[in-house]
Symmetry: C2
């Protein structure tokens, strides 16, 4: 090994996207391997608006594995983090013993430093673990020279992270095997397939109380909800087929109705959990009413909502309806006038909402119920960042000052 | 017929109770006959606190059937009202033709005047149709000299009315026949069986919006919720057995847990309905949290909640816990200080809530979230009121002035 590379870490930086499920994942059949009780399907959001950036450096001079998340050092011994590190290293060893020359024998024994940041505030309440673990696994794989199917490893960090390993429309096939080898993500269509599709993240400002975390929430649901069992076994398989067909056909109304029904059914199984779990608050319920009244007014399904384990609404609609719908949201959730930008992300043209439409919706406005909207669309999967200036770790292997 | 009785109406007054289901009825398999998709079980509440009083007068001088509800004349042609009138008259004719001397041949051809009032405000949001139709059918039966099984007729007025035909603990057996002849209520245990059981109706003051009515709500649920179908077919039969056993054994913790789970599952199926139906509001959800935190603090299930098609909570508990639990409710839902009585009904002794318990519950108080509490218990079925001064109709067959 040349003298000058001895102490300079091998550094790789990648980005990975958030994904929002339209057929929901809720409940594990294996807690350790993170194997789900049903398949799920999501849309990968564009990284221009929402992404995680992760730098991994490896060096023989590092004494131990370390991790910094959003500027703060965290415990590297978190079991799921350890699962990902262990599985990537195992895969690298296997590839080397299989004779793959791209796996660097020395790197394998090196410790790593990991640094990860999100380009969106944690306060936004967006599940960042999917993007985070996808980015971690994708970056580690490049450091250790591992290629190929990685969603099975990302899955072991956070179930839904496996879907963030691909762009566009992605299904997570639940699989049947006990070892989880067939529980993998697969791209249904790329992000270029349906360019008219738009996504609006409505960030809800009222936190009525800290909700139950999804890990413990889904455990309790699996243990206590008989409706969840029925959903997983008898409802989701048919919905997966219909949803894949709707995506292939770009059939918005089927896509939208299934999305809303599946979100509602997921929250129904939370309510059937004992003690019950509530993720929707009064703003969420108002958004649901608004969407149904809006669609009813037009006599067609133009807009769909979906909610994960929190009160934020994610809206799917088509480009042609974005401007008016955002104006409707602004009317019924008047934003703080002295606050920052209400609409972030993709530009939205101004629009006028007719009195007739306002009256048809007929809800009592909830001032400041929504703090801001992120306007985005489907996007690509994880990417390598080639520019070394973008590394989050310096040549000393520690986070750069400005993170 | 003696001259002096020619124009004097035959007048009968009865009272009937409200009932609150612990295994919920939601969904009909026959809209006309009101046949449910599952059996249900309820507790009949004591009429000292909540009752309907109905006077029926019949006279050959009446030109047509008429009805007054809570002081206002209503349309007698309401289909469900017509069902009850038709079925009672049919039963009377059948009995007369079978040779029953108690059926007065002349009364059968007479028109009736009906007058009905509740001793609780409609604004309380308590489903009054069960008590109302039970009382109507019970009173009509006495006017026409009909005896025996009447719950099948009350059922055709309002499904849950059949359960108000008996006191104590009552099941409505769904039946299997297409003609509904086996879809009847049956007493499981009389009101004297479990004297320690207490009922608190928490009347919620915040009406976020007018909820979907139960008739159309359950129609939509039957049409759109796959979870409801599963519940009716595969969950409720087992729960009915467990609940009947818990009532027989006076096993409060089983009774209470099943009650809460079944309420939650009913509301889960409402959320799985498309478009979704919400009956629980933020006060309801706060009561749910409070009950679970309260029980958790004591390490046993001392209190249970149940919610019908509205935000009001009905609490089941044992006499020994009433005073403290009410004090807890008053602490977390501070009542209006200048308002009327906060606790109505059965007297409740004062109690002190420990700081420890308040901290264990740890919720943010919601001032004026609950307007008042009705304290009551299980009670008897419909009764005839013998005192003619209590008749709601005067000797002219019209409502008395003071109703």
């Amino acid at each position: 090994m040349p003298e000058d590379t001895v102490d300079k870490p091998n550094t790789v930086t990648c980005t990975a996207p958030v994904n929002i499920a339209v057929i929901k994942y809720w409940g594990k059949r294996d807690e350790e391997l993170i194997l789900p009780i049903n398949s799920s399907l999501s849309v990968t959001l564009h990284q221009d608006q929402l992404k995680t950036t992760t730098t991994v450096a490896s060096s023989r001079s590092f004494q131990e594995d370390r991790i910094w998340l959003n500027g703060k050092e965290e415990d590297i011994n978190h079991p799921r983090l350890q699962s990902c590190l262990r599985e990537i290293r195992r895969l690298a060893r296997k590839r080397r013993s299989d004779g793959d020359p791209s796996v660097d024998a020395t790197t394998l024994s090196h410790k790593v430093h990991i640094c990860s940041v999100n380009n969106f505030p944690t306060a936004a309440g967006l599940a960042s673990s999917a993007a985070g673990f996808a980015c971690l696994v994708y970056t580690l794989a490049r450091v250790f020279g591992v290629e190929g199917e990685l969603s099975g490893i990302a899955r072991q960090g956070s179930g839904s992270a496996c879907r963030s390993m691909y762009g566009g429309f992605v299904q997570w096939i639940m699989g049947q095997r006990d070892d989880g080898k067939d529980s993998l993500a697969q791209q249904v269509e790329p992000e270029t397939h349906w360019p008219e599709l738009r996504v609006l993240v409505l960030v809800v400002s009222i936190a009525e109380r800290k909700p139950v975390g999804s890990t413990s929430g889904m455990q309790t649901s699996v243990q206590t909800s008989c409706l969840l069992k029925h959903r997983a076994e008898s409802v989701v398989p048919g919905r997966m087929e219909q949803m894949i067909e709707a995506v292939h056909e770009k059939d918005f109304s089927t896509f939208a109705e299934l999305t809303m029904k599946d979100s509602n059914q997921f929250h129904a199984t939370c309510l059937d959990t004992y003690p019950p779990i509530f993720y929707l608050n009064s703003v969420s319920r108002q958004v649901i009413s608004l969407v149904h009244q809006y669609n009813r007014h037009y006599g067609e399904t133009r807009v769909a909502y979906t909610f994960d384990a929190g009160p934020n609404a994610v809206i799917y609609t088509l480009q042609e309806h974005v401007a008016e719908f955002i104006q409707v949201v602004q009317h019924f959730f008047p934003p703080e006038t002295n606050g920052g930008q209400f609409i972030k992300g993709l530009p939205v043209r101004p629009a006028v909402v007719s009195q007739e439409l306002k009256q048809a919706i007929g809800l009592e406005p909830m001032p400041k119920g929504i703090s801001y909207i992120i306007s985005t669309k489907a996007g690509p999967g994880p990417r390598v960042v080639e520019d070394p200036d973008q590394h989050l770790l310096g040549s000393d292997g520690l986070p750069k000052r400005d993170i």
